[in-house]
């Protein structure tokens, strides 16, 4: 088993995802970055599941895929509504929550 390689791949994906969330202004790209983060977690789960010879990790990975699908659905819906109201999807313009 090339556990390290898998973990390294997951870490790289995770960092790319984090970078995307922090640096990107486009809401859709942020959602995509979140997907990257979730999938890097999936890779971790599967790696350890394979190493330990148990199926628990597979089960969690499946759950994560299902939840991620729902999350994208909700997220895109939000983005669409934001676009309708403000004619933009740049997150920097959405600062109504400022305290």
């Amino acid at each position: 088993m090339f556990v390290n390689q898998f973990l390294f791949l997951a870490a790289v994906l995770f960092c790319i995802g984090v970078y995307g969330v922090v640096a990107r202004k486009n809401a859709v790209l942020m959602l995509m970055s979140i997907e990257l983060i979730l999938n890097s977690v999936n890779i971790n789960l599967l790696t350890f599941a394979l190493r330990n010879g148990s199926t628990d990790g597979h089960v969690f990975a499946l759950y994560i895929i299902a939840v991620a699908a729902a999350e994208v659905g909700v997220g895109l819906g939000l983005v669409l509504l934001v676009y309708r109201n403000k004619k933009t999807i740049s997150v920097d313009d959405l600062s109504e929550m400022r305290g």
Partner: protein
């Protein structure tokens, strides 16, 4: 004593062949075609119908090849040798220790039904090319029709009950889609729902039966045959092994039979079948001849040992199957007399014929009943397609015999001749095919000691002849009426029955343009096109000749079906169950020494071997009995002819309006017209009696008990809360809250700059905090 294979000299190796080994392709082809039609059908030059026809044709070729090789296989066996079915199975899925298989079980019965289904489906699809031309859901129709046949084919060759159930349910779904094909009309979608739900009612029995059989048979089958308790072969052998608990197997058999009652339209769940006429005529034809309704009969024939042991077939007195079959024969034949709709007459006749099959199976006449499936498929398909031909070309999409038909024999000679041949076959007139199967059933029922049931069968034959004569008279003789006489005002359409959806929906507009209709703009009655008449001719030739495949009157050498289809009830010894997946079991049969003795199968516990089929008796043919039943049929036809002539043409004053004048007859007529009030019973009484009391009880509970509790609670809570408000809330809580609010406000003001409102900043904070936390964790752990 028993001999093992090595010592026995009479055993012949059974031949097999490519078609037998690959019979599982037969249902796979239509299923693939279904997917292709759904995906690409609309873009194809013939809107996907060519895929449907082609797939059914290739299934037919495969099935015919399998049939030919099966015949070779039975010929290669010695007379008393058990002809091993060609079984292949693969593991489909595993779950929680259960292994669900998928595979084929090819023996005489399944090959026979496969050929019939593929054949009728092919002809019906060709017929539909013309009949549904210009329909708005043409592609969809062919997709559903193809999947429907695929479901039936999969069910027929299933080697285990799970695949069987799958095919069974696929058919249920497709019948729903096809019956409700013109769903814009409310009546059609109601009929589709009714068919679906009524069949579902019975399906509960199938699930219960399969589960019970699995849990009671699994241990035995694993030990003796190495197959799971879902395997049809395993269950059959288990049922005859003398092992099963009699209560368990009886309950399983009854549960399975309930499924058959629903699917095969037996009393009291037959009410969906006549309503299923709402679908397009090719659907009715397919549904009523070879698929769907035959499924229930096929289930009984397939798991015959279970019913044989569980319901005590061949025991003294009647059993459940016979009683239900006999009731069905008579009540549905009686209903056929009061129908004006030609398709409904045929529908009730189907119900009645299915009753014959059940009666035969229940009375131990396995082979005649199976043979009746075979012959019935041809003549009933022909009759339905004939009815469709009339409505398509002569009566302007009406099926009303009294209003829109009559005198059609001159304008539609081919339809008329094929109709008459099929009617004679249905009535069981020598030498048409129905005679060789139906008469055999009645004869064998009597021979096995059930004289009362034989009389019911003869009464049924009398009624069949009478109502078919009435329908033939109304359709083809007398004066043309309504649309057949050339009146086709479009106003009359709207007042017609639900079946007119065909006219009122899709072809209403296109009908007037000559291009879409072969009539070339002429609306008068005429013969249908070749795509319709050729299937009719083929079917009528088979309705005439298929009976000769098991012509008992001409002696043993004519009983080909007995040789090819009936499993031989011999005790099979020397079982090796090493057969892995995809490999047929190797089984040898006992030697010739006891070949002429009575087989113990079905009557006692087999001593050293395994039985797959119970020992059944065959009635010797006697011309005297045949002539008696011929006479009864003739009497029925003649009586009905005279009455029809007097009533419909001469308008005899003694007969016309008799039901209005004589009170008892009027009541009987009303009772029949309302279909014994069974629909009322189901919809108004049973559904209401279950739904209404529950609803009103819930309402009462809600109003009196729940509300009472709520009011009491509310009052006491109100008093308590007053005290709490004054003492605790105002003094203790508010004091705390006010203080903490002041505190929070000062903290908030301090933390305000971090709340920039920018998501990216939040994210950066979140991730850096997480990174710090992770770092701390790593440091602590190392």
């Amino acid at each position: 004593m028993k001999l093992f294979a090595s010592e026995s000299e009479v055993l012949a190796p059974l031949v097999s062949g490519w078609f037998l080994e690959h019979a599982w392709l037969i249902p796979v082809v239509p299923v693939i075609a279904f997917a292709l039609i759904i995906l690409f059908g609309k873009r194809l030059p013939m809107k996907g119908s060519e895929l449907g026809v082609l797939s059914m044709l290739s299934s037919l070729v495969l099935a015919a090849g399998a049939g030919y090789q099966w015949i070779q296989r039975t010929n290669s066996a010695t007379e008393e040798q058990f002809v091993e079915p060609v079984i292949k199975s693969w593991s489909w899925w595993r779950s929680g220790g259960f292994d669900f298989g998928i595979g084929q079980h090819i023996d005489g019965l399944s090959v026979l039904v496969l050929i019939v289904v593929a054949f009728i489906s092919t002809l019906v699809q060709i017929y539909s090319l013309e009949y549904l031309r210009g329909d708005r859901r043409y592609t969809h129709f062919f997709a559903a029709l193809t999947l429907f046949s695929g479901g039936m084919l999969a069910m027929v060759l299933a080697d285990n009950m799970i695949l069987f159930l799958l095919g069974w349910e696929v058919m249920g779904l497709c019948s729903f889609m096809l019956i409700g094909h013109w769903w814009e009309d409310d009546a059609n979608s109601k009929a589709a729902l009714k068919a679906f739900f009524t069949v579902r009612t019975g399906d509960a029995g199938l699930l219960v039966g399969i589960t019970m059989l699995y849990f009671s048979a699994n241990d035995w089958t694993q030990e003796h045959l190495g197959v799971s308790g879902f395997s049809i072969r395993g269950i059959s052998a288990w049922a005859l092994s003398g092992e099963p608990n009699s209560t368990v197997i009886t309950i399983s058999a009854v549960a399975l039979f309930i499924a058959c009652i629903g699917k095969s339209g037996q009393f009291p769940l037959h009410t969906w079948l006549p309503d299923a006429m709402a679908g397009p005529t090719p659907v009715s034809s397919l549904l009523h001849s070879s698929t769907m309704v035959v499924a229930g009969v096929y289930l009984v024939a397939r798991l015959y040992p279970v019913f044989f042991v569980g319901l005590d077939i061949l025991g003294s007195g009647g059993n459940l199957i016979m009683i239900i079959g006999a009731i069905t024969i008579v009540i549905s034949a009686a209903l056929a007399f009061v129908q004006n709709d030609i398709k409904r007459v045929l529908a009730y006749s189907t119900v009645s014929q299915l009753g014959y099959m059940m009666l035969g199976l229940g009375a131990g006449a396995w082979l005649p009943a199976v043979f009746h499936i075979f012959t019935h498929a041809f003549f009933k398909a022909c009759l339905f397609l004939g009815a469709g031909s009339i409505s398509h070309s002569a009566s302007h999409h009406s099926f009303d015999m009294k209003r829109d038909m009559g005198g059609l024999r001159k304008v539609m000679p081919i339809t008329f001749i094929t109709w008459v041949i099929s009617t004679l076959a249905l009535c069981g007139v020598f030498p048409f095919s129905g005679f060789f199967s139906k008469d055999e059933i009645i004869d064998n029922v009597g021979h096995n000691g059930y004289t009362n049931f034989m009389i019911i069968g003869l009464v049924g034959a009398f009624m069949t002849a009478a109502y078919m004569t009435r329908a033939t008279y109304l359709t083809f003789f007398g004066e043309p009426r309504g649309a057949s006489a050339g009146e086709n005002s479009h106003d009359s359409h709207d007042s017609h029955d639900s079946h007119d959806a065909h006219a009122t929906h899709d072809s209403h507009d296109s009908h007037d343009s000559p291009a879409t209709h072969d009539s070339g703009g002429s609306h008068g009655p005429h013969e249908s096109g070749l795509l319709i008449t050729v299937p009719l001719m083929i079917l009528s030739v088979l309705a005439l000749s298929s009976g000769f495949l098991n012509a008992t009157p001409f002696g043993e050498s004519w009983e080909r079906m007995k040789l090819w289809v009936e499993p031989r009830a011999v005790e099979v010894v020397g079982v090796t169950h090493s057969g892995g997946p995809g490999e047929a079991l190797i089984i040898t049969a006992p030697g010739a020494e006891e070949s002429h003795s009575e087989s113990v199968c079905g009557s006692a516990t087999p001593e050293s071997g395994i039985c797959y089929a119970p020992q059944l008796k065959h009635a010797p043919f006697k011309w005297s009995k045949a002539i008696l039943s011929m006479f009864i049929v003739f009497l029925g036809a003649a009586l009905s002819w005279i009455l029809s002539l007097l009533l419909f043409t001469k308008r005899d004053r003694r007969l016309v309006g008799l039901t209005q004048r004589v009170k008892v007859l009027g009541l009987g007529h009303k009772f029949l017209v309302n279909k014994y009030y069974l629909d009322v019973l189901y919809e108004k009484v049973i559904v209401r009696s279950i739904a209404y009391p529950i609803a009103s009880a819930a309402y009462w509970f809600n109003q009196n008990i729940l509300d009472g509790i709520l009011h009491g609670l509310a009052n006491s809570t109100k008093k308590l809360s007053g005290w709490v408000y004054r003492n605790i809330d105002q003094r203790v809580v508010d004091g705390t809250v006010n203080n903490s609010a002041t505190f929070t406000k000062s903290v908030g003001t301090a933390a305000q700059p971090t709340q920039s409102g920018k998501v990216s900043q939040y994210g950066a904070l979140l991730f850096s905090a997480a990174a710090v936390a992770a770092l701390v964790l790593v440091i602590i752990n190392t």
